[in-house]
């Protein structure tokens, strides 16, 4: 669908971005030491840090990806939300306090702390960069998806806009500005999603069958876009979709329910009939055609697992293992994400680390409960763009008012800014503090360490922009699953065993991080999803039996660590 920019949307969006950048420049005017740039002097209040955790963690995948997945496939998107939140239990009960006690600026600090090993620092710095880059891709894709309907700009322009804004935020004041951007974003996201949920419940459910004629979008060999055989324009475009065709029998003779309670909303939807749209892709000498066709389904079916994870209903073992693998990676991945872990260095002590984690869990939990309402509200709003699953939440807001659409889009954009700035901070620390200073042994003064971090941030920003343009057509929720798999496979075995197994050696940690990272990355590159969606090849050619690697590569990391540690002499801990 093509989208028209509105003046209100552009004004609110511009005010948001300028406000965030102004805050960064203001914070950046103060003197910048390495301790301030990388860890905000360790003086952030636990409550601010807790909400910043939410701002850091609730990425484009959470807001745009999960809402979109629920809106198009039903309950399965909520399984992502459950897995994303469950991972915080590992962070709180296993990782939070030791990480705070062991490290200074980066994840490598913590893992190398007992042995003082440059090998550990090198392996962990590389894994930090790989995880951060994989996590950056969905954020940048989300940015491009947002800017198109908001400002009427092409996808690539959105990606570049985010890349430039985030790089400025990180370069000006490092972790200080990153923390405040994440705090503002986390607060606004939860508050405005709460407002949207109240509006959804207040509106209730309304029958609106709309036009159910199939629609065809064609991209011709010379690049023209046709809709139902005619050139696409504002007047002749794909119709918005996502409607409710029948209410439960108890509403016989009525077309609307009126306001509904929080649980009543689910029960009414379960007994309703909903029209979702499926797409089929074909190609011939006239171009590539995507046909969108309505599918009438019961609410009970949509509120059950299996809408997106087809294997849950097909009964194929490989598909079930794929699902189990993803859920394991989500559970183990949160506590292994470098950009989350470095937030523990911004508070003063272990008690503050603990309290900020609990605050983060509260904010994140409330948000994930709301995603279910947002996704289901979008599913029946009649406002969905059939070509773009990532736009469900902002278009849901548009079904209420253009101003709300502008506000929600601007908040979604700050969502991307907050998460991307955290990721670039993590990558910047890995390059400057770990690789240049610790591994290469380049003696850097405090000032040089900050400058080196800024240069690394600019480079990472450029890489992120390129990848965001390259992976344009992916669902951001799906992409972020890869980052969780790599993080959990590479980092979690080393973190857990360093804390709980005395016999762990430096060689064991290096081997576990390296094998976990290479194995999970290799598995992803050889998976059916990558064959189909990245290489454009048949799924059947993929050599690995299922797409999500965690079920194999996380245990592999533990086994490798134990075997290598037992084969190498224990070195006295420092």
């Amino acid at each position: 669908m093509s989208h028209e920019a509105s003046f209100a949307a552009v004004a609110i969006f511009t005010a948001f971005v300028l406000g965030v950048l102004g805050l960064s420049f203001w914070l950046g005017r103060r003197g910048q030491s390495a301790a301030a740039y990388y860890a905000a002097h360790g003086q952030i209040h636990w409550f601010v840090n807790g909400i910043a955790f939410a701002g850091d963690y609730l990425s484009a995948a959470s807001f745009l990806g999960i809402c979109g997945m629920i809106a198009f496939s039903g309950y399965d998107g909520f399984l992502y939300a459950i897995g994303f939140l469950a991972g915080w239990i590992v962070a709180l009960f296993v990782i939070a306090e030791p990480i705070k006690a062991l490290g200074t600026y980066t994840l490598a600090d913590a893992l190398a702390s007992r042995f003082g090993s440059r090998g550990i620092t090198l392996a962990v710095a590389i894994s930090t960069l790989v995880v951060s880059i994989f996590y950056l891709i969905p954020q940048m894709v989300g940015a491009g998806a947002l800017v198109t309907p908001l400002l009427g700009l092409p996808h690539a322009a959105g990606v570049v806009l985010v890349g430039v804004a985030v790089t400025l935020i990180v370069v000006t004041a490092g972790m200080v500005s990153t923390t405040w951007v994440q705090f503002i974003k986390g607060s606004l996201l939860v508050l405005f999603c709460g407002l949207l949920v109240a509006l959804i419940l207040g509106r209730g459910l309304t029958v609106n069958t709309g036009d159910l004629t199939p629609q065809v979008r064609t991209v011709t060999p010379d690049g023209r876009v046709l809709v139902d055989g005619k050139p696409q324009s504002r007047e002749h475009d794909l119709r918005p979709v996502g409607t409710l065709s029948a209410l439960p029998a108890r509403y016989a003779g009525r077309t609307t329910t009126g306001p509904l309670g929080p649980l009543e909303y689910f029960s009414v939807l379960e007994d309703s009939t909903i029209v979702t749209w499926k797409s089929t892709r074909t190609a011939d000498e006239h171009g590539v055609h995507v046909t969108y066709e309505p599918v009438t389904r019961s609410g009970a079916e949509l509120l059950q697992p299996g809408g997106s994870f087809k294997g849950l209903r097909s009964g194929r073992l490989a598909d079930r293992l794929d699902f189990a693998s993803l859920m394991l990676a989500l559970f183990c991945g949160t506590a292994s994400l470098p950009h989350i872990l470095i937030r523990y260095y911004t508070v003063k002590d272990a008690a503050a680390a603990r309290k900020s984690t609990v605050t983060g869990i509260a904010a994140i939990g409330v948000f994930y409960v709301m995603t279910l309402y947002l996704g289901l509200g979008a599913m029946t709003s009649g406002a969905l763009d059939p070509t773009d699953t990532n736009m469900a939440a902002p278009l849901l807001a548009k079904s209420f008012s253009t101003t709300l659409f502008a506000l929600v889009s601007a908040i979604a954009f700050t969502t991307v800014l907050g998460t991307v700035s955290g990721l670039i901070m993590a990558g910047s620390g890995a390059v400057a503090h770990d690789l240049v200073s610790r591994v290469c042994g380049v003696p850097l003064t405090d000032h040089e360490k900050v400058r080196c971090g800024r240069i690394a941030a600019v480079c990472l920003g450029v890489v992120a922009m390129g990848l965001g343009i390259l992976f344009k057509d992916f669902n951001v929720g799906f992409l972020v699953g890869w980052a969780f798999n790599i993080a959990a496979s590479a980092n979690l075995p080393a973190l857990v065993m360093l804390l709980f197994w005395r016999r762990t050696t430096a060689a064991g940690i290096i081997a576990a991080v390296t094998v976990g990272m290479v194995a999970s990355l290799g598995w992803i590159l050889l998976s059916a999803d990558t064959f189909e969606k990245v290489y454009g090849l048949s799924r059947d050619l993929a050599p690995v039996p299922f797409s999500q690697p965690g079920l194999v590569t996380i245990p592999l990391g533990f086994v490798v660590l134990v075997v290598v540690s037992l084969l190498t002499p224990p070195r006295p801990a420092r």
């Binding site: 296993v94 306090e97 649980l263 009543e264 689910f266 029960s267 379960e270 849950l312």
Partner: protein
């Protein structure tokens, strides 16, 4: 087994006790999460049951897991604050 590093704000015995409690709470949540995922994988038909308020078990269990995460986190924090 190595004891996790002691928190800065507690005596070593208190930190060790808190660490053990944390691990117990962690395993409780693992059981809840694993049980739910097991149901999704093995007996998805049970998730269609509507035990409360006309809402199916899939939604109630999902919401319950989110609330349980916060509940356990709160129990852990309050336990340490009052100790």
């Amino acid at each position: 087994m190595t004891k996790p590093t002691a928190a800065h704000d507690e005596s070593p015995p208190a930190a060790a006790r808190a660490s053990r409690t944390g691990l117990v709470l962690f395993w409780i949540y693992v059981l809840l999460y694993g049980g739910f995922m097991g149901l999704v994988l093995v007996r998805p038909d049970l998730l269609a049951l509507r035990p409360f308020g006309g809402v199916n078990l899939a939604i109630l269990a999902g919401l319950g897991l989110i609330v349980a995460a916060f509940g356990l986190a709160l129990v852990s924090m309050l336990g340490r604050e009052t100790r």
